[in-house]
Symmetry: C2
DNA sequence: TAGATTGTTAATCGATTAACAATC
DNA sequence: TAGATTGTTAATCGATTAACAATC
C-alpha cells in the first residue's frame, strides 16, 4: 500500500460509498465488475473510480476488472474497518440514545463502552446494555479504560469542555453531533455531523428549485 | 440578488457555517466585521469569504467591512430560513424521535406535521405533541396536507418506497438518514446524512494518524 | 482627505476527466 | 492470440488564493 498520508479528503469521502455498493454486489453473488459497470451503478466516472482506487494500489486486473470480494476487503482495510473501536457517548438525550442504538445494531466493529450524562434521571439507566454514568465520572473512566472514539451528543455550549476531557483521556477520534466547531490537536481525528447545516442546505436547494419552476 | 442557479455546492455548504458564526457575533453585540477578522474566526481565507459572499451580491462596504446583523439576515434569506417548512418523519425509531425533538427545540421554522411508522407499538403515541400515524395513512395524509420536506428515518430497504410516496405526495425536499442512495427527480432537493459513511471516514483518519505517530 | 477594506480580475492550485499504452 | 480493461500520464475543468483598483 502506498503512502496514504496525503490523499485528498474528497477521495476518502467516496470510499465508504464504494464499500456500500460492493457490499450489495457481494450479497448478490456477483464476483467481478469493471470500472465502467461500477460507474453506471454508483454514478462516479469510470476514470475517477480507477484514479481513486489507484491511490491505494492496483486492485484490478487488465481485461478482467475488479474482484468484488477482494476489493471490498481492501477498502474495508483501508478504512480501518477490520479493527475494533471502543467508544463513549457523552450526552444521553434522544440523539445520544439513537447513536447508541445505531452502532449497537449496525456497526459491529464499533462498541459503545459507556454513556455519560449530567441528568440524574438518566444516570444509572441501561440503554442496549450500556450503562449511563454520571458525567462527573468521565475523567476517571477515561483513566481506567482505553477509548478510541468520543461521541459528542451534548448541546453546543458543553461540547468543547467535553472534547477537552476526552482528548486528555486519550481518544484518537471525535464524532461530533453538537452544532458547533471544535478545537483539537490535529493528531486527533474529527468528524462533524452538523445536522443544522445539513437542513439549512436542504432549505437552500428547495428554494432554488422553486425559482426554476416559476 | 444574482442568478443563484449555478453556484457551486462548495459555496452553499459554507453558508450555514457563516451564519452560525454571525449568529454568535450578533449575540455578543458586535456590529461589524471585516473579511479578515471573520477569516481568523472561521478558518476560511478572507479572499474566499469575499468571493463566497459576492456570489449573491455586495453585502459589504469598502473601508468598513460587513454589518453583522444585515449579513446574517441576507444569508438567512439566501438559505430560505425566513420561511416555514412543514415536514413529515417516516420511521419513528430512536433516530426519528431524536430528529423530531431536535427540530422541535432548535429549528423554529421547521415544523413536524406528523410522524409515521409501521410498528403498532408506536402508532398513536405523541412525541413532542406530534402524532405517530400508521404508515398506511401516509398517502392519504399527503393528499390532505401540503408538506415541504420528507425525512427518511427508515431502514435502507424501505427508504426508496417511502421516498416515492413522499415525492408523489408533493414534497420539495428529502432529508435522508437511511444508509442508502435514493433515486428521485432532480427538481426535488435531496440532502443525505450518511452516518455510516461519516463513521467510516473517521475510522480512516484515526488509523492514518496512528501511522504518522509510529 | 487618508486609511481601510471591499469587489473583482488574474494566477495558482487541485481535482476530475480523457486518452492510451501496458497487460491480463 | 485478440479483446477487454486496467493503471497512469496528460489535458481540462473548477475552486481557491492572490493581487489590486475601486470606493467608502
Amino acid at each position: 500500500m502506498k503512502d496514504n498520508s496525503k490523499i485528498s479528503s474528497a477521495v476518502i469521502k467516496r470510499l465508504p460509498r464504494y464499500r456500500r455498493y460492493l457490499y450489495d454486489l457481494q450479497k448478490k453473488n456477483v464476483d467481478r465488475i469493471s470500472s465502467n459497470e461500477l460507474s453506471n451503478l454508483i454514478g462516479y466516472t469510470a476514470s475517477q473510480i480507477r484514479q481513486d482506487l489507484n491511490n491505494f494500489g492496483g486492485f484490478g486486473q487488465q481485461g478482467y476488472g475488479y474482484n468484488i470480494q477482494s476489493l471490498y476487503n481492501e477498502i474495508s482495510a483501508i478504512l480501518g474497518l477490520d479493527q475494533e473501536y471502543k467508544m463513549v457517548i457523552v450526552g444521553t438525550g434522544n440523539l445520544g440514545q439513537a447513536i447508541a442504538n445505531y452502532t449497537h445494531y449496525y456497526k459491529s466493529g464499533f462498541k459503545v463502552a459507556a454513556m455519560f450524562d449530567v441528568n440524574p434521571k438518566l444516570i444509572g439507566l441501561r440503554i442496549n446494555d450500556i450503562e449511563v454514568l454520571d458525567y462527573e465520572m468521565l475523567d476517571e473512566f477515561m483513566k481506567n479504560n482505553t477509548i478510541d472514539i468520543g461521541i459528542i451528543c451534548t448541546n453546543k455550549d458543553s461540547a468543547q469542555e467535553v472534547v477537552d476531557k476526552l482528548c486528555a483521556g486519550g481518544v484518537k477520534g471525535i464524532w461530533n453531533f453538537a452544532p458547533t466547531d471544535l478545537n483539537l490537536s490535529d493528531d486527533i481525528a474529527l468528524e462533524n455531523v452538523h445536522l443544522s447545516d445539513s437542513l439549512h442546505s436542504l432549505a437552500y436547494y428547495i428554494n432554488r428549485n422553486k425559482q426554476k419552476d416559476s
